[in-house]
């Protein structure tokens, strides 16, 4: 017969006591353990799905939320225009300032160069002898030199081109003459009250001056600053050209000859 251990009774009692005292805790521990295991399992199952969704969101964020965000930003900008302007103002100001400073620097250099050249004793003496132009005119004319870009001698009624000069290549000159005549007629008909003629068309960088005569008109496109003395001089030259053409009308039917005359009287003069 097997011998009972010395303390077996005691141990059994202790075990019994432990069961009696810790039964509730054990149940709680087991429930907790099950919950942790369940969470672990759930985590293992859900994690890849969540990662996949995050990746999808990251990739397609603009598609999913682009419109909403744009709309929200628009509304915010609209509702807080003052704040936006205040935020942008310094940046814009700096950019504009930078551009202006750069242009002014170029202009200053150009003016300095011209002043240096034109205000030498020799030049002052030359001007004194020649008279006419004032100092500001001379500096402006040098810095923004006016250039004759195009010249058209056009029959007034028909709009047919008799002769021309061009610094560069422009669209078909015959068609330009026709359309210019049409536009001129349209403007004169629409705005003129006493049969007045259209004389100037201004663009951003150049000006089209029109001198009207009885049967022809001469249109000249110039770039640069057209100061009073240049205009006066140009007007004199145009009148000289018109006088030559109208005295010898054969120029109107000989385009090449008239083109040479235009260069001689307006460009080289």
């Amino acid at each position: 017969m097997k011998k009972t251990p010395v303390d077996s009774t005691k141990d059994n009692r202790f075990e019994l006591l432990r069961e009696l005292l810790l039964a509730e805790d054990r149940d709680k521990f087991e429930a907790l353990s099950k919950e942790v295991i369940l969470r672990e399992k759930l985590k293992n199952n859900v994690s890849p799905l969540v990662d996949e969704k995050i990746l999808d969101l990251r990739e397609k964020f603009p598609e999913y939320f682009g419109d909403t965000i744009t709309q929200t930003i628009k509304v915010q900008i609209r509702d807080s225009q003052d704040e936006v302007v205040e935020a942008l103002y310094p940046i814009m100001g700096k950019l504009v300032k930078k551009a202006i400073v750069s242009e002014i620097t170029k202009l200053t250099e150009s003016v300095n160069k011209t002043v240096k050249e034109k205000f030498s004793i020799q030049e002052i003496l030359k001007r004194f002898i020649r008279g006419k132009k004032n100092d500001a005119d001379i500096v402006l004319q040098e810095v923004f030199e006016p250039i004759i870009e195009e010249v058209f001698v056009i029959e007034k009624d028909s709009g047919l081109l008799s002769g021309s000069y061009s610094r560069g290549n422009i669209a078909d000159k015959d068609m330009v003459s026709g359309m210019l005549t049409a536009i001129k007629s349209f403007a004169e008909d629409a705005f003129s009250k006493e049969g007045q003629d259209l004389e100037d068309i201004k663009f951003e960088t150049f000006q089209l001056s029109i001198q009207n005569f009885k049967s022809i008109y001469i249109a000249i496109a110039c770039s640069g600053v057209l100061n009073a003395s240049f205009k006066e001089e140009l007007s004199d030259r145009i009148h000289n050209l018109a006088e030559i053409i109208l005295r010898d009308r054969s120029f109107l039917s000989e385009e090449e000859r008239l083109n040479t005359l235009i260069v001689k009287e307006l460009i080289e003069a």
């Binding site: 028909s158 015959d174 026709g178 359309m179 049409a182 007629s185 349209f186």
Partner: protein
């Protein structure tokens, strides 16, 4: 090279611009015609061993109701009056319209063209010819290209007279 200004006149929608498009490739945007009432196109043609530069002024509508600057008609060497064979209103007052063009341009002879022949049968065209109070010079179709070249050659001949 001789240059001549020729006019194309007639009511809205008779096919003046289409005729020019058939005949000319070099042209300005059509926007001009709705803006200032005219568009200028250019075509260099050969006629009886001579090269002629035709500056074609396509004048928008000529039935007297439109406000077109009279200056568009000045200095023209020839004119073509176009009407739509399929629309009676474009040729009913042809006498009055032709007189207006003659008065403004100082031209005596005007080439008269009935366009859009592709829309009518031969019998219908005959009926229209009977109805129109003046002699028609050419019956054209800008769509099919029929007699378009002939119409402009007649205009050229007239400009050279």
């Amino acid at each position: 090279m001789i240059a001549k200004k020729v006019l194309l006149v007639g009511n809205f929608g008779v096919g003046k611009t289409s005729l020019i498009r058939r005949f000319v490739l070099n042209e300005f945007s059509e926007d001009y015609i709705s803006t200032i009432g005219v568009r200028v196109s250019k075509k260099v043609v050969s006629y009886q061993n001579e090269t002629i530069k035709l500056m074609i002024w396509d004048v928008a509508g000529t039935n007297g109701d439109e406000k077109i600057p009279k200056a568009y008609f000045l200095g023209a060497h020839a004119a073509m009056f176009v009407f739509d064979l399929s629309r009676e209103e474009t040729y009913l007052t042809i006498d009055k319209n032709l007189k207006m063009v003659r008065d403004l341009s100082g031209l005596k002879d005007i080439t008269i063209v009935g366009n859009k022949k592709d829309l009518l049968s031969a019998t219908e065209i005959d009926n229209v010819i009977q109805k129109v109070s003046v002699d028609i010079d050419l019956i054209t179709s800008a769509k099919e290209g029929d007699y378009v070249e002939d119409a402009f050659m007649k205009l050229t001949a007239q400009a050279l007279k």
